[in-house]
Symmetry: C2
Subunit: 185 residues, 2 copies
């Protein structure tokens, strides 16, 4: 295992409402010095929820994605609020975006977005035993809920309007996790 580079400096070089860019000076263990830029996440991270309506049906949402300038399918997600626990944030986002609460919530993996240039982490939560419960979110329009069969994951991957890396990773992980749960029964 390599020795970590020494952090020579970290300075804030740009800040907007949503984004905060830092410049880092690093000296690697071989003496090479470099400057990197990274995006610092202001929040406690995000949650991404995999809501299972039954053993095979996941609830996706269709939402306008301003980065892509298109409506896309993805799993519900959102920022964790200050002092909010991961599972509470997941259940809140589920109520706001999908209109369900969950009696069973399981945090199964935390993933980075682009670990070389962003500090951001997303905590993935499996939500089961759903019940209807709607909470008011900050969405500019109601989101369409799209049930999808996990056994048809291949067809979902072929769609041009399903692109988000974290949603793809989460669905595969949950497909394996549920298969292991079934095998254990």
């Amino acid at each position: 295992m390599s020795t970590k580079p020494q952090i020579l400096s970290i300075e804030s070089i740009a800040r907007t409402r949503l984004f905060h860019v830092e410049r880092m000076g690093l000296r690697f263990s071989n003496g090479v010095e470099v400057e990197y830029e990274r995006l610092r996440s202001g929040s406690a991270g995000a949650v991404l929820v995999v809501p299972m309506q039954d053993a095979d049906t996941v609830l996706l949402i269709r939402e306008y994605q301003a980065g892509r300038e298109a409506y896309e399918l993805a799993l519900p997600k959102g920022r964790i609020e200050k002092d909010e626990a991961v599972l509470d944030a997941a259940n809140r986002e589920l109520m706001e975006e999908v209109g369900f609460g969950a009696r069973r919530l399981q945090h199964f993996k935390s993933v980075s977005l682009a670990p070389g240039s962003m500090t951001h982490m997303t905590h993935m939560v499996l939500a089961q035993d759903l019940y209807p419960q709607r909470c008011e979110g900050d969405e500019p329009e109601p989101l369409e809920v799209v049930p999808w069969s996990l056994s048809q994951l291949d067809q979902l991957l072929q769609r041009d309007d399903f692109t988000e890396g974290r949603s793809i990773a989460a669905l595969f992980m949950v497909r394996d996790l549920l298969a292991r749960q079934r095998a254990a029964c």
Copy 2:
């Protein structure tokens, strides 16, 4: 399918060497107006390579990730250069980061990073029939290459130093893709 919101304005509000933030004014079809911020990717996007040394062994790299301030395992990746084709970029990154070229390259999916707030796209490429070939990259230190068995993907997911969402998604997709190729033979 909803009517796309009307884009009322796009303005550049911050720019550093690596990051470019835009503010967008949008009017949704229900009349609601909102302001969003998004990160505009300056480049032609990125490639992420899944290099298979044999039918089950993928070559990961261990690299210092400045966003996480830690060494992590991930798939090789990098930016596509101006006027460079996706497969050429994938083979170049493979030579620079792993020390192999590939005789067979297949672009199997393009994924977004955070489509709501970033324009960035990553093109995923399966690399097979590898041969030793090293090219000079811009890494500050040599990267460690770590072979991993795709049949041991579960153990990889349990590691705290394997977090990158796109790498997780790509390994699952390739595992399925190779299983389908074997089934077809």
